[in-house]
Amino acid sequence: MFDLDLFLKTLGIMLNLRGILILLSGTVIGMIFGAIPGLSGVTAMVVLIPMTFSMDPVTAMLLLGAAYGAATYGGAVPAILINTPGEPPNAATVLDGFPMSQQGKSGTALGAAATASTLGGFLGLIVTFCFIPVMAKFVMAFSYPEFFMMTFFGLSIIAILGEGTLLKGLAAGGLGILLSCVGYDPMTSELRYTFGIQYLWDGIEVVPALFGLLAIGEVMDLLVKKKPIADHKRSKAENSGVWSGIKATLKQPFLVIRCSSIGTIIGAIPGVGGTVAGFISYMHAKQTCRNNENFGNGDVRGVIASEAANDAKEGGALLPTLAFGIPGSAGMAVFLGALTLHGIDTGQDIFLVNMDVVYMLLISLLGCHIVAAMIGLSLADKMALLTKIRPVLFAPILFLVCLIGSFALRNSIGDVMVTLIFGLLGYEMRKFGFSRIALILGLLLGNMAELSFRQTLMTEAGVMGFFTRPISVILFILILLSVFLPFFQTYWRRRKNEE
């Protein structure tokens, strides 16, 4: 399955002057967005998507992959320097990173974070690279019933493990599927839920909705809270210790490998996300390392564990996104939106027709880790200054970028309205703990679920088609387990405690 010629050709696109410039720009933008608490790699991609309209899909993935991949390292900088994770996945880095800064070892922590991120990212992507041929064969065995079950399996996992409670996650997913029914029925062309509005005939465009739910929701939250991003009086980076951080990481190869593996596996499970990966790796390091009494008080191994897992998760998260079109995280949902925008279908198609896009994604994520490490190591202290920007200065600009971005998709002012409406909805959902990613997933996968469901019904087996194929049955059992098991587990534990 591995096409060396195509891989080298794709690598060549990145290694020419234009490719390097795009990689550099994406990495720098990603690092800046990652370093500003409240923003993230997702926001960076949302802002960059309109810039990719004139690009071919391969180049677009280079820019977006670089921005997304670099954001996680960017997020480690404020986590270490000012006790504020730039991105949620960097939360575990704070535990030892900030105490190190307080002890005057911020350079060591930043060096360790940069090296662990790079190595973790590399290992995660290598694992993904090895699994892609297997995954491609696996996907070929999927038919309508499996796709239907896979859709609901992804949705149920995200509802359970995403933000908020299971009930709210499932309700948000259901609402997303319901909203995906707006517009023409994909099989009979009957109009549904258009309420006489011509704009709705084509359904709700996913990308403007995504801009609103994820980016505008965050922007509103930043403005409402209006707090200064961080208190900078205490922090000061010291570059002198950067090399000792690099050495400390290189002295812990097995820790890096173990934590990267944890990150990759967790990344491949839709909905779990980098925050969980970071904390599980941190706990693993704490439990397995010798002389662990310093964990939590500035042990460099805590920073290494968290950062290696954080960056490795991106590789893992690419697997379900590319193979099944099921984004494991908000970032992957934006990637999926960008792929759709450029006319690339995931699943079998991407492995058969657009393998160059897959290679570019992997290459850009690998490349950005190298560039991010170089920039991070040399400009660590300067980057901390970015966190001084007041939200009031960039939040209105981000809001406008979202509106322009959604307009530029199809030159439709209706898309701008959709972005605003979903922005307000996203803010309220965020405030009340409803999973926005579950709603997006429902919106994204609703059509696929409906088509595969009805296509299965049209086959000779009818409804039984879902229960006569082994993969479909396994997925059905997994759906039931993932939805009901957490309820029963909590109930049993509670009863045990009462007894």
Binding site: G174, L178, T188, I216, R494
Partner: protein, 155 residues
């Protein structure tokens, strides 16, 4: 639990119920997914609304799920005021773009928002408004050749 959260849930329930009931109007296979997802979501939303009004039901449900179902952080009066004003500004900005187009709406919104809402200096408000407008023009109109919406009034 705050009334605001109850209202939000009731609103979602109303939307979902309306969509689920409308689903009956569609023919054959077209109504399967709207009905299934609509009824499913309506049941969940309805249950949450019920919980929001009855602490007994909430206590029963929490035998099965540890996480607090109504966990919205309380907001200060200042934050509530800002929330209302941000919604007003964002809706106003979108309306301005709809009426006057992007190239008028963008500088107008940034300038007024920074000057009136954020109480920033004249220099910063004008400077940022101009800078963003120039960047948008160069990036979208000049380089990407995106014909930005010119506004209902100027079209």
């Amino acid at each position: 639990m705050k009334n605001e959260e109850k209202i939000f849930m009731l609103l979602l329930l109303a939307i979902v119920l309306l969509m689920a009931l409308s689903g009956f109007r569609y023919s054959g296979g077209s109504k399967i997914l709207p009905l299934v997802s609509g009824v499913f979501s309506a049941l969940l939303m309805g249950f949450m609304v019920l919980m929001s009004f009855s602490p007994k039901v909430t206590a029963w449900y929490q035998k099965f799920e540890k996480k607090d179902i109504f966990s919205a952080e309380p907001m200060t009066d200042q934050e509530k005021k800002r929330e209302r004003s941000v919604v007003f500004w964002f809706v106003g900005c979108t309306a301005a773009i709809y009426l006057f187009g992007f190239m008028v709406g963008i500088p107008l919104f940034i300038f007024l928002f920074l000057k009136l809402w954020a109480k920033e200096s004249w220099t910063l408000s004008i400077g940022l408004a101009l800078a963003v407008s120039i960047v948008v023009y160069v990036a979208f109109v000049y380089l990407l050749r995106v014909p930005l919406h010119s506004g209902l009034l100027f079209a």
